[in-house]
Amino acid sequence: MKRLISTIAVSAFAAGSLLASIAAKAEDTIKIGILHSLSGTMAISETTLKDTMLYLIDEQNKKGGVLGKKLEAVVVDPASNWPLFAEKARELITKDKVVATFGCWTSVSRKSVLPVFEELNSILFYPVQYEGEESSKNIFYTGAAPNQQAIPAVDYLMENEKVQRWVLAGTDYVYPRTTNKILEAYLKAKGVKAEDIMINYTPFGHSDWQTIVADIKKFGSAGKKTAVVSTINGDANVPFYKELGNQGIKATDIPVVAFSVGEEELAGLDTKPLVGHLAAWNYFESVDTPENKDFIAKWQAYTKNPKRTTNDPMEAHVIGFNMWVKAVEKAGTTDPSKVIDAMIGVAVPNLTGGLSTMMPNHHITKPVLIGEIKADGQFNTVWQTPGTVVANEWSPYLEGSKDLIADWRAPLSCGNFNVKTGKCGSKS
């Protein structure tokens, strides 16, 4: 009996490795790495992005691939484990020889793979809104920097909701800390007093929000219009919104504007008590443009799920992928060092009816949309920037970075050029 089991196990193992080696020896294709967690805590957000990439690659292959070759996706699972991200990135680049990688969600995963991409001189497309304060030669940031999301949202609340008192609530990590720091400086510059700003940090996955929501309610009943600016991350959002609903805080009393809550997150919630709470993004599924309608139809056909939602980071991957294709065609090669140079200045249509351009700081131009949650889990766009906004990768509101700029064009070719000292980083 035991012998039988071990025989089965051994042959399964052998068959598995055989299959793997066959797959690896497939004919001459261009390989694209997909580095998104498919298990662990971040799988909730990242799995969809893997599917998006598979869809995009499939679409491109239907059009004949790139440079006459088919594209091939190499999917790995970094399992929400940050060192594993670095390990898998190295494996993708050295072993699988991918020419570009699309991946990461959290800042820490990006920080973990950054040295790998720089060392091996490969390309990473990073699709999520983040805290800024970074510009790497090898990373293209297709998500929003704080000025492409947070500041317009605060402006909207000030002008349209006449908000005077602010709760900045976030998960305790770099993105909320930086965003809140920028917002605090911005609000103070606009004349908001220190006692009218409440800052609160909670750990990842915080699930008991009773006390904090009650505090917010208390803070909000001081006679001035109050709003919550939420940089609460991922898992903690559902219990947070459920508690808001439970304690009867309506958007008409204390609106919450969130930067990390999109259609995917709302799909896990009963949105009726949340109607009117806001989110700021660069894309909403409900955006009424032909490009978006076409994308959603094809995406839902690809996933064979007529209810499958779309969201902002997906659009970022769409833009990033199309930019990469364009840059490869422009450079005539997939060689990362040439593609990196060809990327700057590439403009592709985004899904909200405009053009997004890759700027010399490796960030893209994006429109900013403010949406209110509707009862069906979608957003109703209530405000939109007239054009696209250029990213401030180094925030002018932060002490350490206000003199820094990034420009990856020759001759400057620097991610942290100090305009005061005229030096790139510490180099003289």
């Binding site: 898998k88 050295t94 770099v174 350490g400 942290n416």
Partner: protein
């Protein structure tokens, strides 16, 4: 001293040391000396990967020492590992100097970012390698000493001990997540540049780090082996098998436990310190209770109370993880889960334990 270390050193142990020595020499040579086109060439990423496996093996060894030989099931050994890793990470951060994005000569980037004006006291002297290495060993040992002194003296045993070790690592996880702690919060420490002046990305540095890891694993094995083979080790085993009886015989059980717990914590700390430069990041998730549980599983897979088994289990499980996450990204958890269940049901003594038993009984005996 030497004689003590190799006291009752049997053939298997000798083979293990020899294998480690060959590995520690051969892999760097195959990586550095051969041209990339050669079939025997080992790419640099594999060197670091195996370096990581060996660091995990050292952690597993440390855990087997307390669990396999003294019956202390620690579900918090990841904490000692991570503390060692943080000590090394802090040294590496200080080595970055003004090459950080904000070009601050003293403060690491994340401190500039949080508007800190000066270095917190916990970071003093970490620019000296020797100090950092001392901390790698001292911090985990000290924590183990304090924790163990309280726990063993109060005779906390069994699952109670396991759960409070888990609480310990969980509390540290939460603490290190806090940005106010000054250890980089969730992002941890990363983007290291060099170690003792050598670029951390250079293949030579990686190869040497790998060799050092292999060496430390061998050393750790010899020390652990010497401990368990001595009279001290026999008392440990009797504590594991019948704690009260050992106490009634007049042994100060808590002192023995404390001793082995501290040594094990120091080994785990060293493992963490070797791990960090090779994977390039240390962050609070290393404190996650799940990581510590996984380390226990490596030991169980390899064979509890065999030392070699623990090391081999760690390498094996992590190799399987690397392979499965790359090849079957959507299904690998089934494979890993099935492996754990299969090992407990069919190989209760772990792989090495079962093999030894079979070998000793001439390959006839049923082991279950």
């Amino acid at each position: 001293m030497i004689k003590f270390l190799f006291h009752r050193f049997d053939k298997t142990a000798a083979y293990f040391i020899a294998a480690l020595a060959v590995l520690g020499v051969l892999i760097p040579i195959l990586n550095l000396a051969l041209p990339e086109a050669s079939t025997f060439h080992i790419p640099t990423y594999l060197v670091s990967l195996w370096g990581k496996y060996l660091a995990y093996a050292l952690l597993a060894l440390a855990l087997d020492l307390v669990w396999g030989y003294c019956g202390i099931l620690s579900l918090g050994h990841g904490a000692f590992f991570a503390l060692g890793g943080y000590a090394m990470g802090m040294y590496l951060m200080r080595q970055i100097g003004s090459r950080g994005v904000y070009a601050d000569p003293i403060l690491p980037d994340f401190m500039v970012f949080l508007n800190w004006k000066e270095l917190p006291i916990t970071w003093y002297f970490f620019d000296h390698f020797v100090y950092a290495i001392a901390m790698v060993i001292l911090v985990p040992s000290l924590l183990a000493l304090i924790f163990g002194w309280f726990a063993f003296r109060s005779r906390v045993t069994g699952v109670y001990l396991s759960i409070i070790t888990q609480s310990l690592t969980y509390a540290l996880l939460l603490a290190f997540f806090r940005n106010d702690m000054g250890f980089g919060g969730n992002n941890g420490l990363t983007d290291f540049k060099d170690i003792l002046g050598f670029s951390i990305q250079a293949p030579t540095t990686r190869a040497i780090l790998f060799s050092i890891t292999a060496l430390m694993l061998a050393l750790g094995f010899i020390v652990a082996r010497a401990m368990v083979a001595s009279r001290f080790g026999q008392v440990l085993a009797s504590i594991r098998d019948a704690e009260s009886r050992t106490r009634f015989l007049g042994y100060r059980v808590e002192n023995y436990k404390l001793m082995v717990f501290v040594v094990s914590a120091a080994m785990a700390g060293i493992a963490g310190a070797l791990y960090v430069p090779q994977v390039g990041i240390i962050n609070p998730s290393e404190f996650a209770p799940a990581n510590s549980i996984e380390a226990v599983i490596w030991v169980a897979v390899g064979g509890r109370g065999t030392l070699i088994g623990a090391a081999i289990g760690a390498v094996l499980v992590n190799f399987a993880k690397t392979w499965l996450t790359g090849t079957f990204p959507d299904f690998w958890l089934y494979g890993l889960g099935a492996l754990f269940i299969g090992v407990t049901l069919f190989l209760p003594k772990g792989i090495i334990g079962t093999l030894t038993a079979r070998f000793n009984s001439g390959g006839k005996g049923d082991t279950a």
